[in-house]
Amino acid sequence: MSEHRERDDALAPSVEEAARRLARPVPASPSLVPNVMAAIDRRGLPRRGAMRRLLQRRMLRLSPVQIGLMAASIALAGVFVGRYSRWGIERHESWAAGQSALALTATAGITPGPLTIAVEVHPRGVRFVLSAPEVRNVSLVGDFNGWRADATPLVRDPTTGLWTVDLPISAGRYSYAFVVDGRWMADPQSPRAPEDDFGRPNSVLVVNREASRT
C-alpha cells in the first residue's frame, strides 16, 4: 500500500508537466474551418422525419389529378369509417337477439344486500351487477380488459346500492373476477374457472351466439 503511494508521489511532477502541455491552446490550421464546411456540404443534410416532410411546403404542390385522387380517397375513407363504426354497433344488436350467457342469472330479483352478483345479457352486451352497499370501490377484471383493476370500474347507484357496468363483450369464453375494495373475488354464482393458475380463483362467463334450433 505504502509502495503505491510512494510511486504516485514520484510520478506527480511528470503528470503535472503533461497537464501543463495539454492546457496550452493548440493553434488551429487556417484551412480547418473551410475544410469542415466543405465536408458538411459533401455529406448533405440529414433526412427529415416523415411528419416534417409531410408538412413541407412542396407537399402542397399537387397536380389537379393528384388533388382529385386525394379528395376521392378521403371521401372513400370517410365512407369506410362510417360503415365500419355502424357495423360495430349493429354487430352487437344482431347477435344479442340469439345469444345467451352461461353466467346468466336473474337481476330482476336482486336486492341490496351483502355481495350478491348477477350477470345478464342485454342488447348491447353483458351487464354485471353487484349488490354491495357497504363497499367503497368495485371493479371488474378479466380476459376482456387485460386484468387491469382500474380498467372497468362499476358505478354505484346511491339509492339502491347496486354497482353496475355494461360491457360490449362478443361471443366467447372469458375468465373474470371482481375487485371489491382491493380484494379479488370470484363470482360465486358462475362456473369456476378450472385453471386456478395464479392463486386467486376466477369465474367463467360464456357468451354464445346460439345457432338456430334444429
Binding site: 416523415a50 409531410l54 407537399m59 393528384q66 385522387l69 386525394m70 380517397s73 378521403i74 375513407a77 369506410f80 369509417v81 362510417g82 365500419y84 363504426s85 357495423w87 360495430g88 354497433i89 354487430r91 352487437h92 345467451s100 350467457a101 352461461l102 346468466l104 342469472t105 336473474a106 330482476a108 330479483g109 345478464e120 377484471v141 380476459d143 376482456f144 387485460g146 386484468w147 387491469r148 360491457l167 360490449p168 363483450i169 362478443s170 361471443a171 366467447g172 369464453r173 372469458y174 375468465s175 379479488w184 354464482q189 362456473p191 369456476r192 378450472p194 385453471e195 393458475d197 395464479f198 392463486g199 367463467v204 360464456v206 357468451v207 354464445n208 351466439r209 346460439e210 345457432a211 334444429t214
Partner: protein, 233 residues
C-alpha cells in the same frame, strides 16, 4: 410523383387513424380480449428467461394457427399472471401448459369451432377430461357451440363429480336439446347440492335427469337464475 406516393399514403393513414369513428370501431373489435402485442408488452418487465419462454410459446401459438379467440385467451394468461403478481417462472409454465392443452383441444375438436370452444376444451382437458370426452360433448352439442357444456362439465369435476359422470350429465342434457340456460341451471343446482352435502355424482346425474326431461320453452332471462328445489340427500 413516385416519391410523393408514400407521403400521400401516410397522410391518408394519419387522417383515417385520427378518426374517432375508426377508433371506436377498433375498440369494439378489440373488446374480445388481450392481444399478443399487449401480452408481449406486458412481459417486457419479466426476467429474461421467463420472457423468452413466453415469447416462444406465443409465437408457436400464432404459427400453429390457433383461432384469434384462443390466441387472445393465451395472451390474457400472460397479463393475468403479471397483474396478479405471479412469479415469472410460474407465468411461463402456465402459459406453456395452456398452449399445450389448447393444441390438444384444437386437434380433438377439429377446425369447425365456435368462439371460446378451444379455451373451454383446454380447460376441460386440464381439469381431467379425456380427448374422447371432448368429442362426446362436441357431438352431443350438434350445431350449437359446445363451449357451455365443456365449461359446466369442468365446473362439476372441480366440485368433485367424477369426470365420466360429469360428461354423462352434460351429454344427456345436450342431447335433449337443452340450451345454455339449462346448462347453467345444471351447474348452479349441482353446486348448491354439493354445498348442501349431496354426493357430487348423485347430484350431477339426478339434476341432469330432471332437467333433460323438462319440456323446452322459450328462454326468459328473468327465470334463468331461479333455483330448482334441492334434491333429497
Amino acid at each position: 410523383m413516385r416519391s410523393r406516393v408514400p407521403r400521400y399514403a401516410a397522410l391518408l393513414a394519419a387522417l383515417v387513424s385520427a378518426s374517432p369513428g375508426l377508433a371506436r370501431a377498433q375498440a369494439t373489435a378489440s373488446s374480445g380480449g388481450a392481444t399478443i402485442a399487449v401480452a408481449l408488452d406486458a412481459a417486457r418487465g419479466l426476467e429474461p428467461r421467463a420472457r423468452t419462454e413466453i415469447v416462444a410459446v406465443l409465437d408457436s401459438a400464432r404459427l400453429a394457427g390457433l383461432p384469434a379467440d384462443a390466441l387472445s385467451a393465451l395472451a390474457s394468461k400472460v397479463v393475468e399472471g403479471i397483474n396478479k403478481g405471479a412469479a415469472p417462472d410460474r407465468i411461463a409454465r402456465v402459459v406453456h401448459e395452456s398452449y399445450s392443452a389448447m393444441r390438444a383441444a384444437q386437434s380433438i375438436l377439429g377446425p369447425d369451432v365456435a368462439p371460446g370452444e378451444i379455451a373451454a376444451g383446454a380447460g376441460a382437458l386440464r381439469a381431467g377430461l379425456a380427448g374422447r370426452d371432448l368429442q362426446r360433448i362436441k357431438l352431443a352439442s350438434r350445431s350449437r357451440p359446445a363451449t357451455g357444456a365443456l365449461v359446466v362439465a369442468t365446473d362439476m369435476i372441480n366440485r368433485g363429480v367424477p369426470a365420466a359422470d360429469a360428461v354423462a350429465a352434460v351429454v344427456r342434457l345436450a342431447e335433449s336439446g337443452a340450451d345454455g340456460e339449462a346448462l347453467l341451471q345444471l351447474q348452479s343446482d349441482v353446486a348448491r347440492d354439493v354445498a348442501a352435502g349431496v354426493a357430487p355424482r348423485s347430484a350431477a346425474l339426478e339434476r341432469a335427469r330432471v332437467l333433460s326431461s323438462r319440456p323446452r320453452t322459450p328462454s326468459s332471462p328473468a327465470s334463468a337464475g331461479s333455483p330448482s328445489p334441492a334434491i333429497p340427500q
